[in-house]
């Protein structure tokens, strides 16, 4: 049974994942995934640990290239109609368009300012005032500006966990990607910091298309437009968030969201 995505004319599709199989060595991690993400929406991936949701997320910016033996064995992933594994796609260029925020906040051991302008500097921006502008915009975008504007040139390690995670978001959006992938961005944060990051994600929707993995189903309902449920490397159900959580069409989904397993 193929999950049916609801039709909508106001959104164009940005990421199209078609019939993707993925293997770590000989172990199959994803099996025949079909999924479409539309521009300026927030899609949440839920599912028990090891179900393949992070793997799929990391396929979208080819982060899995780093893992030895890991590869897409079947199917295509297209962004704006371009297959990302085709030889003319440079993974570095791809990652500039598809940013990523990780589960563990991982600021570089440098100053806050250097962290945020790391990406822009790589793409060749050297002008000081331009960089200043980018840093300010990115930090404001990540709702961190007011807290750190007086200590931009102190070490990022001095920030709290929530601040560090928002700094990582600022660092990602400073590159001006189109798509932002978030791999459990709040799992290491307390409820207050989580609320801040969630609010931030909702604001970012204006500019970016966001795909996030979460273990927190309330978070998925609060933040996402559509939710995909994965189980054992398969996409079980993909629907409007409200529909999926109130009237799931599959039994596994219902069991999972009602807490009967996982």
């Amino acid at each position: 049974m193929k999950p049916k995505a609801p039709e909508s004319k106001t959104h164009e599709s940005l990421i199209e994942i078609k019939d993707v199989d993925f293997c770590y060595g000989n172990a199959k991690a994803l099996d025949g995934i079909d999924l479409t993400v539309r521009r300026n929406e927030i899609v949440a991936f839920i599912g028990p640990s090891g179900c393949g949701k992070s793997t799929l997320l990391r396929c979208v910016n080819r982060m899995n290239d780093l893992v030895p033996g890991a590869r897409v064995t079947r199917g295509t992933i297209e962004i704006e109609g371009v297959e990302i594994h085709s030889p003319e796609v440079d993974p570095v260029e791809l990652r500039r368009r598809v940013g990523m925020v990780f589960q563990k906040s991982n600021p570089f051991p440098q100053t806050i300012y250097e962290n945020v302008c790391y990406g822009p500097k790589l793409s060749g921006i050297k002008d000081k005032s331009e960089l200043d502008g980018i840093v300010e915009t990115a930090l404001q975008g990540a709702a961190l500006w007011d807290e750190v504007k007086d200590r931009l040139h102190t070490s990022a390690n001095g920030l709290s966990g929530g601040q560090q995670q928002r700094l990582c978001i600022a660092r990602s959006i400073a590159v001006r990607p189109e798509i932002l992938l978030m791999d459990e961005p709040c799992s290491a944060l307390d409820p207050l910091a989580t609320a801040k990051v969630e609010e931030l994600i909702l604001n970012l929707k204006e500019e970016f298309t966001i795909v996030m993995v979460t273990h927190n189903m309330q978070q998925a309902t609060r933040v996402s437009d559509r939710t995909a449920f994965f189980y054992m490397g398969r996409l079980i159900e993909f629907d409007e968030t409200a529909t999926l959580f109130t009237t799931p069409s599959c039994k596994e989904t219902e069991d999972y969201i009602s807490g009967r397993f996982g």
Partner: protein, 540 residues
């Protein structure tokens, strides 16, 4: 209750693991004792060799004659078994005055000693040649027939003045002999070599000019020599014989029995300073070890300049770029094995490859005008390169470990920002692994600074008064042979013509070598800790 409490009793004899704890503790204790014992011995003996001993006059009974007196300081007391199986106590005395006695050290039988007194007016005189003199100051013979008796007013001042004057004259003489005459004769040699190939009038003219200048310099040299021997310091030994020391050869006069604790401390510091800051004399058994310190430090630094980039680059390729497989595994094992190859093998390799091959090529290309080999003989550059080769496995292994221990999250974060692999390595991975890399460099330096065997083949010599970096153009002389503290220890302890005199120097040199290694390591550790603080990856 009681059953359960006995069951979990912690006082019983069957506590699991307890014997192993003791065993491991014993292992550690033995290790610590050995290190502390070694360092302690070296430190005690090293400091002792600078501490000025009291001078004593020993009266010895002579069979069938008058008692004889000898002045000196006590070196050691020991008991020995004679052929008849009797135990005899004897003392070893340093009496100096080589011209009078022949041997500077003497063993005296305890039985034969009548008295042992510390006399106030005994002095210890250090001089340039012939070893120390011990006796009483008698007079100063100032050029001509003028004589100043030791009891006269202003004697000490005059003596100090002449000692200082002597030092100035020696400096002047060194300047003329080493730098001016040295440069002159070097050029003369060059010109003569060219002359053999074909003569030209300009060259002949320059040669004549140089030779005239040499005559002038030689005249100055003779004049200085005469001035150095103008006045003499007369010292009287215990048996009434006199020793005449030209004041130009006086280094230091020390009245050992007239000073208190602080005076002796001051003398200790002066001797220690002399030791580290002056050139060796008397086949290395006297004077200082400055050239050896300089050689050791320069060689170690040059070595780390070569080994660090080389090792780091190799490790980056091995860990980050090379496709992990059997080949890389084989390379890694080979690198590790390289660290276990006997160091003398590296010495032989350095001699064959660096000196004979590379040195030969360099000489052919750039120094075909020179009669003697320039780079085709042992020198500090080749020694540093040989040691760099010897220590490169240490740096590679440490760098690989450091690179591997950079958290994946940091790498991924950099890549997710649109960094290419090299950009991620350069800007994020390498800084984060710098402390680990520096640990490798520290280990390499410690290993390199203490290595002696390969150096003996590639440039270390017993005596090299010309430093590899000095004021003579072109200032840096990577082709020069050099002295090394490790080799100096070997030379003093086992190759010295006067092993008794060299003994304290061996300990002092060992102490110095250990101190230098410690200082270099501490510096590197401080830098590493600062880096570690700076590049600490947040543990959040």
């Amino acid at each position: 209750m009681s059953a359960s409490s006995s069951k979990f009793s912690t006082t019983g004899r069957s506590r699991t693991g307890e014997p192993l704890v003791w065993l491991t503790a014993v292992g550690l204790t033995i290790g610590v004792l050995l290190s502390v014992g070694l360092i302690g011995l070296v430190m005690y003996k090293g400091f002792e060799s600078f501490w000025p001993a009291r001078l004593v006059v020993v009266e010895v009974r002579q069979e069938g004659g008058e008692n004889s007196k000898v002045a000196g300081y006590l070196v050691q007391e020991r008991s020995k078994r004679t052929l008849e199986g009797l135990v005899e106590e004897e003392i070893q005395l340093f009496r100096g005055n080589r011209e009078l006695f022949g041997e500077k050290f003497v063993f005296l039988d305890r039985e034969a000693i009548v008295s042992q007194t510390e006399e106030e007016d005994l002095i210890l005189v250090e001089r340039l040649e012939g070893g120390n003199v011990i006796g009483r100051a008698k007079a100063l013979e100032l050029g001509g027939s003028e004589t100043l008796e030791a009891s006269a007013e202003g004697f000490d001042e005059k003596l100090d003045e002449l000692t200082e004057r002597g030092e100035e004259l020696r400096d002047e003489l060194r300047e003329i002999e080493k730098i001016k005459i040295g440069e002159n004769s070097k050029r003369v040699k060059e010109l003569r070599w060219l002359e053999k190939k074909g003569s030209s009038p300009e060259r002949a003219e320059e040669l004549a000019g140089l030779l005239a200048e040499y005559e002038k310099l030689d005249g100055q040299r003779k004049e200085l020599r005469e001035q150095l021997e103008e006045s003499t310091f007369v010292v009287e030994a215990m048996d009434g014989r006199e020793l005449k020391i030209p004041t130009g050869e006086l280094l230091h006069v020390f009245a050992a029995n007239q000073v208190g604790f602080f005076g002796r401390l001051k003398e200790t510091i002066r001797r220690a300073w002399t030791f580290v800051s002056t050139d060796p004399r008397e086949a290395n058994t006297e004077g200082g070890v400055y050239p050896a310190i300089f050689g050791t430090v320069v060689m170690t630094l040059v070595m780390s300049l070569f080994v660090t980039p080389f090792g780091v680059m190799a490790a980056i390729y091995l860990r980050e770029y090379a496709k992990q497989g059997p080949l890389v595994k084989a390379v890694r094992i080979s690198v590790n094995n390289l660290a276990g190859v006997p160091s003398i093998v590296f010495g032989v390799f350095g001699l064959a490859f660096f000196i004979y091959f590379l040195g030969g090529v360099v000489d052919d290309w750039f120094f075909s005008n020179s009669e003697e080999p320039v780079y085709k003989s042992g020198g500090i550059l080749w020694a540093s390169l040989t040691l760099a080769l010897l220590t490169v496995p240490v740096v590679i292994v440490a760098t690989e470990e450091a690179l591997a221990s950079v958290p994946r999250g940091v790498r991924e974060a950099a890549l997710a920002c649109g960094a290419s692999k090299w950009q991620a390595i350069q800007r994020v991975v390498l800084p984060a692994s710098l402390p680990g890399i520096l640990t490798g460099v520290i280990l390499a330096m410690a290993r390199g600074a203490g290595e002696v065997a390969p150096l003996m083949l590639v440039g270390v010599v017993k005596s090299a008064p010309d430093l590899p970096i000095d004021a003579v153009a072109p200032f840096v002389h990577p082709e020069r042979q050099f002295m090394h503290l490790g080799f100096h220890i070997y030379d003093l302890g086992f190759q010295s013509p006067d092993s008794e005199a060299a003994k304290p120097m061996v300990f002092a040199t060992t102490l110095l070598l250990i101190s230098i290694v410690v200082v270099m390591n501490l510096t590197a550790i401080i830098i590493r800790n600062r880096l570690r603080k700076k590049y600490a990856v947040s543990s959040f």
